[in-house]
Symmetry: C2
Subunit: 231 residues, 2 copies
Amino acid sequence: MNTTENVAVQKTTKPSFNIEEVLTAPELARFYEESNRTEFGKRDTIFKQGSRVTEVALVISGLVKVTREMRKGKNLILRVAQPGCFVGISSGLASETYEYSVCSMETTTIRTISVDTLRWLMESNHRFANEINQRICSENLFNISRLSSLLSKQLPGRVADIILYFSQDIFSSNEFSIPLTRQELAELAGTTKESLIRTLSEFKNDKIIDMNRNVFSINSFNILKTLSRLG
Amino acid sequence: MNTTENVAVQKTTKPSFNIEEVLTAPELARFYEESNRTEFGKRDTIFKQGSRVTEVALVISGLVKVTREMRKGKNLILRVAQPGCFVGISSGLASETYEYSVCSMETTTIRTISVDTLRWLMESNHRFANEINQRICSENLFNISRLSSLLSKQLPGRVADIILYFSQDIFSSNEFSIPLTRQELAELAGTTKESLIRTLSEFKNDKIIDMNRNVFSINSFNILKTLSRLG
DNA sequence: AAAAAATGGTGATTTGAATCATTCTTAAAA
DNA sequence: TTTTAAGAATGATTCAAATCACCATTTTTT
């Protein structure tokens, strides 16, 4: 057995620092001067996969999803980003175009800065640069973890993973309302709408969770964790 | 249709810069002073998933594979790293333990440096830091690309991907000998030994490739690319 | 050189999940 | 309110790939 378990979803969506604390006054001034605050509705496109990268964004309030558009109509939700998270950095620093789309899941405010400004801030402030580096690396490890989970676990394990993900990483609660459709939940679990629904229904029948419409509550964390572990 | 196609394997394994060119004389001196040159045999473990991260490595010569150990006996090869590539950076900068194993595929020389030395170099030299950042981001985009390919393509497309990967990214030739067993090729394509063998045999019967033992040669790049594209 | 182990290859069978088809339900639009 | 559309749910069927069971071949060890 491995020391590193395949917990598909780790605490990588949670921000580990606050801009205001890390940047100096002049850097912060420049950040606010050169960034643009934008508001988005319940389900708007913030960055579109395939379009030219100009900016990265910091989520101020709300919730966004980062999705990879695969073949026609098939999507994979990579992660959900919360206030304090940056989105678009990997594409910004290593690609000409966005390699994924970013969409709001609810009313959301973001601040966008140009890639140049990001680079300037990173050169100007080592601590900031370190924090950004660490986030990129964490995101990378998170993707590796998902790669192995999505590839090696079967449905019950993957569905358990996404329930634990929302409970632990996003809402820090065992009762929560998920602002995603069944189709989107399937895109997070790497499956189809029908299969996801079936698995959720089984969980409900087995009293592992309660669920009405989009409100979920977890009855047995242990069973979910076991399902996640055993795949 | 998307602008960004799911080319599973992109040129992320190729190094984009040379240490000697980027570091200053004193930095280089420190790099050589604080790094250790180590030689490995045909299939040795360099870093072991789950063990405490102390160092990252620069591949000097040879070829290594980066693998994620999933459940009992199930592995996924994440990438093949060539001379000039660093391995272990994501784990080094964002984890206490290695999140993947690194193993030599042939006689290999590496230089290891401590994470502290890596951090020092990154703080000391902006260009070096930028290059490292860019590599981490590329690796991340590469993993995202694989995630979507492995999840959305079926076997012929995934097998076509790995043949194209070795041909284009690793050996830059349409005839090459792959230093991996069938089992390992399966671990790269995210499938089982038997299924991989069957698919390769079909490719051979259809005259898309020639193959005897570990020597592969590509007869039709176009068919492979089409298979990769259509999944 | 003989024995043992690891790797390569094949056929038959099983199976998890995708797909297809349809109904029910909630939300939005006319 | 009625109509229309979008989302949720369930059953029946199909299918790609995993698993199981072997045998052949190559490599390594004794």
